[in-house]
Symmetry: none
C-alpha cells in the first residue's frame, strides 16, 4: 500500500508508467465500452444483452462483471462519455462568446457538429419510425443541461440576454437541438450550417419576443 521511496522499477517514477496489469485493465474496459456502443447501436438498448456485448469482445463472460455490473451501467458509462466529450467544447465556445447571438450560434453549432460526427451514437437514441428510442439522463448529461442553464442565467444577469424563464429556455434549446439534429441527419448532405442558422435565428428572435423581454413583443402574422 505504501509507496517505497526507492522504486525498483525501470520506468521514470512519478509519471504514467502503467503496469502491464493496469494496461490490460484499461484495454479491457475500453473494449467493453466500444463493443457495447456498437451493439447498442445495432440492436437498440432493450434488444441488447450483456452476453451480446461480451460476445463482441474476446473476453470471457465473467470478465464483464469485473468492470460493470449490468447493461444499464455500461450504457450509463457510454452516455457519460459522450457528455464529457461535448461539454468542454460547449463551455468553451460559450465562454468565448461576447454577444448573445454568438453564444447561441456556437452552442448549436458545436452540438450539431458533435451529432454529425458521432452518428453511430445517435443511431441508438434516434431510431427508425416505429422503433424504440431510448434516452438516459445520466448525472453527467444532466450536468451539461445545468451548465447551459447557468450560462443563460449569467447572460441575463449581465444584460446580454433578455430576462426570461431560464429553465424553460434551456429546455427549449435542448428540445430544439435534439429534434432538429434528428431531421438534420436525415438529409443528404448533412448540413450543420443550415441547422445552426435555423436554430439560432429561431431562438434569438423568439427570445426577443418573450414577455419578460423588454423589447417589442409578440410580432407576427
Amino acid at each position: 500500500m505504501s509507496e517505497p521511496v526507492i522504486q525498483d522499477t525501470d520506468e521514470k517514477p512519478d509519471t504514467a508508467a502503467p503496469s502491464k496489469r493496469e494496461q490490460t485493465k484499461a484495454n479491457n474496459k475500453a473494449a467493453i465500452l466500444s463493443a457495447a456502443q456498437e451493439v447498442f447501436a445495432e440492436l437498440g438498448y432493450e434488444g441488447t444483452t450483456v452476453r451480446d456485448i461480451i460476445r463482441k469482445t474476446n473476453l470471457a463472460s465473467g470478465t464483464f462483471y469485473n468492470y460493470f455490473k449490468s447493461k444499464e451501467e455500461v450504457f450509463e458509462a457510454l452516455m457519460d462519455d459522450r457528455a464529457l466529450k461535448v461539454r468542454p467544447k460547449l463551455n468553451e465556445v460559450r465562454k468565448d462568446a461576447t454577444d448573445f447571438p454568438t453564444f447561441l450560434r456556437e452552442t448549436f453549432r458545436s452540438f450539431f457538429d458533435f451529432v454529425a460526427e458521432d452518428q453511430q451514437h445517435f443511431a441508438l437514441v434516434r431510431r427508425n419510425t416505429g422503433a424504440i428510442r431510448v434516452r438516459m439522463d445520466t448525472p453527467e448529461v444532466v450536468a451539461g443541461f445545468e451548465e447551459l442553464q447557468n450560462d443563460l442565467e449569467q447572460a441575463m444577469k449581465n444584460g446580454l440576454a433578455p430576462k426570461v424563464d431560464p429553465d424553460f429556455l434551456a429546455a427549449s434549446m435542448i428540445g430544439i437541438a435534439f429534434e432538429v439534429s434528428d431531421r438534420m441527419l436525415m438529409r443528404e448532405p448533412i448540413d450543420v450550417e443550415g441547422a445552426t442558422e435555423f436554430a439560432t435565428a429561431l431562438l434569438l428572435g423568439g427570445i426577443g419576443a418573450l414577455p419578460e423581454g423588454l423589447m417589442d413583443s409578440d410580432r407576427l402574422e
Copy 2:
C-alpha cells in the same frame, strides 16, 4: 374496431348491441391495454414483461396472444391510443384558428393540457434522472407530426405564417413541446398557461426573426 351492421354471429342478429363475444373481446383488449399502461409506468418499458401485463389482468397467459403478439405491440398500441386521443383536438383548434398566434397558442395549450391530464403515461416516457426514458414514434404518432407540418405549410402558403423551413419548424415545436412539458410537470402547481405562453411567444417571435421570413430579421442583444 368498427362495428359491422350485419354480424356473422349465431346469436340474435337483430340487435344493434355488440354480441356478447365481441363485447368480451373488446373488454379483454381494453383490460390488457390498461394493465400494460400501469405496468409500463411502474416498471419502465424494459422492465416490463408480457407476464407482468397478463398478471395484472385476470386472463390466462395464452389469451394475451389472441390480442397482441408481443410487448412491443401493446406498447405501440398504447402510443397510438394517445396519439389518436390528442390529434383530433389539435386538428380542431388549428382548423379554428384564424391567425397564426392563435394557431400556435392553441396547439401548445392542447398539448400541455393533454400532458397534464395524462401524467401516468408520461411517467413512462420521462423518468427520473439516471433512469431510462423511452419513446416510440409509431405511425400514428408520426402522422400527428405530419399533420402539424402540413398545417404549418398551409399557413405559410396562405400567407398567415412566414415562409421558413417547415420540417425544422415542426421539429422545433415538437422538441419544445416535449422538453417544456417535462419541466412543467416538475413544478407545483402545474401551470399549463405559463408553459403555453412561454412556448407560444418564443416560437412566434422566433419565426418572425427567421431569415426566410420577410420581416426584419435576426437582431438582438
Copy 3:
C-alpha cells in the same frame, strides 16, 4: 369457479375422476420428487443441483419451477413425505400400547423398520465417513418429534411412565433412534429386532433409574 349442479362430464361426479391435466401434474410432481430422491442420495444435498434433478426427469428445465421453487423446497417436500409416512404408524402403535414397555418397544421397532425399508433415503442423511450429512427438521418432522413428546407426557400423567423431563427424554429417544439406526444399517444382516431390543431395554432401564422417577412400575420384564 362455481360448481354447476348438472355437470356435463362423463364421469361420476364427486369422485376421483382427475382430468388428464391433473393427472400429468401429479405425475410430474412425483417424477421430480423421485428423481430428487435418487440424486440427493447419490450426490448429497449440497452436491445436487436443480439441473441434476431435472436431468433425471424427462421434463424441461422450466417445468421444475412450476412445482418447486428451489432445491431446498424439494428436499423439504421429501422430508415431509417421509415424516408423513412414518408418523401414522408410530402414532398407532403408541395408541395401542397398554403398558410403557410396549409403548417404547413398538415405537423403536416401527422406526427401525422404516429405516430398514427406506435405506436410500437414509443414504442421504447418513453418509460415509468424511462426507457431509445433512438433516432438515421440517415442520412435519418436528411435528413427529412433538407427538412423541406429547405421548410421553401423557403416559407420565397416566402413571404409566415415570415422571422425568419429557423434553430431554424425547430428545434422547430421537438421538438413540437415529444413531443406532446408523449402526444397524452397517451390519449384515440388518437386525431390526436386535436394535429394537437394545434401544428399548436401555431406555426402559434408564428411565426407571432417573431421579424423578418415583414409581417402581414399568420394570423391564
Copy 4:
C-alpha cells in the same frame, strides 16, 4: 505443522522462534479458519463460498489455495479442530474415572461444557426449524467416537461396566449427547449440570437393565 529444528531458511537459523515466513503461514491459516468459522455459522455450509471466506480475510483469493483446496477441506479442518480440542479432555476424565458412573458423568459433562462454550460452532450444526443442519464425521471426529467405544469396551472387560453391545452403546451415548445438547442450548439459562445428570442417570440405569448386563454392579448411587 511440526517445527523442524533445522530450518532451510535464509534467516538466522539459531533461534527457536519460528521464521517470519512460517509465522505468516500460520497466521494466514488461522485467519482463514477463523473467517470460515464465522461465515459457516452465518451462512450455513451450503450457503458459504470460498469467496465469502477469503473476503472476511485480508488475503487475496489465490492465497486461499495455498492452504486449502476447497471449502470442504476448510470445513473438515474446522471439524477436526473441534474434535482435537475436546478429545483430550474427554480422554482425561475417562482415564481418571475409577467407577463407571463417574466415567459416564464426566464424559457427558465435558461434552456439554464444550458445547456450551462453543455455541457458534453448533449454530452451524444445529440450525432453526426448516433450515438445514450439517454434520461431518471427519477422521478426527470418528476417532473420538472410537475412543469412546474402546474405553467402554475396556470398562466392560475390567468388570466396571455391564457387558452390552459396545457399538450400540457408544452410538446411544453420542445420540443422546448431541440431541440433548440441542435442547440444553435452547433453555435459559443453559444448565450443563441438569443435562449431565439427566444423561448420566438415563444411561446408567438403562445399561444396568440391558439383557447382557450380568452384573449387579454399578448401580446409580
